[in-house]
């Protein structure tokens, strides 16, 4: 067993590794196979740490640097675990002028994490976004599929508590 496979076992279950092997096998040797592998691995493992990228690079016979380049290019891929709920605070122009920044700071304080980070219990990941096209509802906070409009700082705790 190579070093990175030992690393993978620390982070993922044997079932997940079986799944990853299946994903790689399915696309191996096909031109343009890297992105489908990364996409399915992201869905199945929820994040793509160094160990997973090394395994994918080795088994697809691609330079590790290229795998890393693709992973960091697309925002869909993440290298750190994501929470069960992704909290997206809109900082588009309309939400921003209506206090979006204060909302995002309150969420950061409530969850104890910064933008782009995940809580240690893997419940919440915090992101900021630029306009959801729901400017009339601003400031907007989206938790997974749920849209919360006209959010006030004082309501943030209440909103988050629905998901705890």
């Amino acid at each position: 067993m190579t070093m990175d496979e030992t690393e993978i076992l620390k982070e993922f279950s044997p079932e997940q590794i079986v799944k990853l092997n299946e994903i790689i096998k399915k696309h191996k040797g096909k031109p343009g196979g890297l992105i489908p592998v990364l996409e399915e691995a992201q869905v199945s493992l929820e994040y793509l740490p160094m160990s997973v990228q090394k395994k994918i690079a080795r088994e697809l016979n691609l330079p590790l640097s290229r795998v890393y380049g693709v992973v960091t290019f697309y925002s869909f891929f993440t290298m750190t675990p994501r929470g069960k709920y992704t909290v997206r605070v809109c900082l588009g122009t309309a939400c921003y002028v209506r206090g979006g920044k204060a909302i995002s700071e309150t969420v950061e304080k409530e969850l104890g994490i910064n933008e782009g980070e995940t809580t240690p219990d893997r419940m919440f990941t915090l992101e900021t976004i630029r306009c959801l096209g729901a400017c009339g509802l601003g400031p907007v906070v989206v938790v997974n599929e749920d849209v919360h409009g006209r959010v006030k700082s004082s309501k943030v705790r209440e909103i988050l508590s629905q998901y705890k």
Partner: protein, 586 residues
């Protein structure tokens, strides 16, 4: 061959089908500025947009480096619209580039500066941003420094690292304004699989990649009265150093180089060519021993430290094929603090051994932990050709008008065989001359072994060597070409006895420490200078005719592959593998 007729700036142009506007324009001497395009290796990402032209009937402006010509096309390269757009592109590039030109390593030899001049840029209307160095400059490698602040995202370094050297350390990563050229996981170079060849430096149009500068350390040693500072120069330096002083490429400047080094204050000016000759004696005998005793074949040369590190990373299973001979630089270093110390009666602790190399990987090699066989660090400092050029300028020396001077004895004597080490195929040619003589007791019918010369990627030849019969050999330069031979060995399909591999395309004359620009035209001229030294200047052309080397064996080493040789001139290799991150220097 079918051609296409088009009009560029009211001139009729005929070029082959599939040519780009840039190629068509260049064919009739119309200049279009470029930055990201590096046509010699087919790298034209069309990313920088400074080559914009106007094509009648096309919407918007067209990047000349990627757009193919078609029949009847009408192109304008210097309309108001084109000139304004190019100015804006360069203005924006500069607005995002540290304004440190006065003390940048590429000042005066920077393509961005040249393009700014080309487009007639007179001002940058944006306030220059501050460019904090924090986290942006990677000093981890003993060979190469990366300054991401200066990177213009042309990706020429990525192309050479991936396509030519097939090392693939560098990649564009992240997105938008955060995009950055980095090794995987943003690791420092030293923890990546970087082999320190420095081809990325030759590729960089600006000062984002450059050699780790050790000039000040050498100045300090030279000014220290308690130190005896000696210097060796690789063969490739004499064929390229003149370019740092605007002499034409291919000028052979051996005598001026020696004079300049003396004026800088080196106590003795010796020559790496001396130990190149010595390498041939050791390596030739090693080859014969392997042939006779059934050792691992093909044997592969080990002079090129970038190649060695590449083999350690990517072919750790084939390390037994490498000759155990140290490179000429390291043989010299080990002898400087033993043999020379004894001869001169100087305590080796007071000797500072400096080498001038065309190579950034030599800096890495000199600090490998096993390179201390004299009991001290064998080679203290390694300067590239470019660093020596800067040092000579800083020393106020009028290089071009220097008289020719000669090397000091005894480690300055060399033959033509030593000098051609600097060009691809040279080590092979030098080795065959001596192996033939050792085996048959006669000289080769012709000392010129032309099939191993030239810039073809992989060269093969068969030489009849007396009782050994036909000896099949191969030569590769550039690691993409080396891979072809290594894969053949791995598959058990290589029936060669001896292989020469040089890390850099063209060999050491185009090493990562050589003057910029280095391109194929210049490779040919620098090689020709070395073959001129071998064929016309040096009276002796075979390593075993070097009297000082003979004396070294008589007085000190006793015999090739003997006990002392083993101790000082041979080495071992490390299985590094491709796992990253690597521990520092491990």
């Amino acid at each position: 061959m079918s051609t296409v007729k088009l009009t560029i700036d009211n001139r009729q142009v005929e070029v082959k089908v599939g040519a780009t506007i840039l190629e068509a324009a260049r064919s009739v001497g119309i200049k279009i500025p470029t930055l990201c395009a590096w046509t010699e290796i087919n790298h034209t990402p069309g990313a920088c947009r400074v080559c914009m032209t106007e094509v009648e009937g096309q919407r918007g402006l067209i990047a000349a480096c990627v757009f193919p010509v078609s029949d009847g096309m009408v192109v304008h390269t210097n309309t108001e619209k084109v000139r304004m757009a190019r100015k804006m592109v360069v203005e924006l590039l500069l607005a995002n580039h540290p304004q440190e030109c006065n003390y940048c390593v590429r000042n005066g030899n920077c393509e961005l500066q040249k393009v700014a001049e080309f487009v007639g840029l007179k001002e940058v209307r944006f306030d220059y941003t501050q460019f904090p160095k924090e986290g942006m400059i990677d000093h981890s490698s003993p060979s190469i420094v990366r300054d991401s602040r200066k990177c213009i995202e042309c990706h020429r370094c990525v192309a050479v690292c991936e396509q030519i050297q097939t090392v693939s350390v560098l990649t564009p990563a992240h997105r938008g304004s955060k995009v950055k050229v980095v090794p995987a996981f943003d690791l420092p170079l030293i923890e990546s699989n970087c082999i320190a060849c420095g081809q990325c430096i030759l590729a960089c149009p600006v000062g984002a990649l450059y050699e780790k500068d050790d000039v000040d350390l050498v100045w300090k040693a030279l000014q220290d009265p308690t130190k005896h500072v000696i210097v060796q120069e690789a063969p490739a330096i004499r064929a390229a150093l003149g370019e740092e002083f605007d002499m034409p490429p291919g000028s052979l400047v051996t005598g001026k180089m020696i004079a300049a080094l003396r004026r800088l204050g080196f106590d003795k000016v010796f020559d790496t060519n001396f130990t190149a000759d010595l390498t041939i004696i050791e390596e030739g005998n090693e080859l014969l021993k392997r042939v006779k005793e059934g050792g691992t074949l093909p044997m592969i040369t080990s002079c090129s430290p970038g190649w060695i590190k590449f083999c350690e990373h990517f072919y750790p299973d084939l390390l037994d094929h490498l000759s155990t001979c140290k490179s000429p630089q390291q043989m010299f270093g080990a002898l400087a603090k033993t043999y020379y110390a004894e001869l001169s009666g100087i305590d080796p602790k007071d000797i500072v051994s400096v080498s001038i190399m065309p190579c950034t990987a030599k800096k890495f090699e000199a600090q490998r932990p096993e390179m201390n066989s004299s009991g001290f660090r064998d080679v203290d400092y390694v300067l590239t050709t470019r660093e020596l050029g800067r040092m000579i300028k800083e020393g106020g020396i009028d290089f071009v008008n220097l008289p020719d001077e000669d090397y000091d004895a005894p480690m300055g004597e060399y033959t033509g065989a030593g000098t051609i080490f600097g060009a691809t195929g040279g080590v092979m040619e030098a080795a065959l001359r001596t192996v033939y003589a050792v085996v048959t007791g006669k000289d080769l019918p012709s000392l010129d072994i032309t099939p191993v010369r030239g810039l073809e990627g992989v060269k093969e030849a068969t030489v009849k060597v007396g009782p050994l019969g036909d000896v099949k050999i191969a030569v590769a330069h550039g690691l993409g070409n080396a891979r072809k031979l290594m894969d053949k060995i791995r598959e058990g399909k290589a029936d060669y006895a001896f292989i020469e591999i040089m890390c850099c395309p063209g060999g050491c004359i185009a090493g990562g420490g050589e003057p910029i620009p280095t391109n194929n035209e210049i490779r040919v001229l620098r090689s020709a200078a070395l073959y001129k030294d071998d064929g016309k200047v040096q009276k002796k052309r075979q390593s075993h005719e070097n009297e000082s080397v003979k004396k070294l064996y008589d007085k000190f080493l006793k015999e090739p592959l003997g006990h002392k040789s083993h101790q000082l001139l041979h080495t071992h290799y490390e299985k590094r593998g491709t796992e990253v991150p690597h521990k520092k220097n491990a």
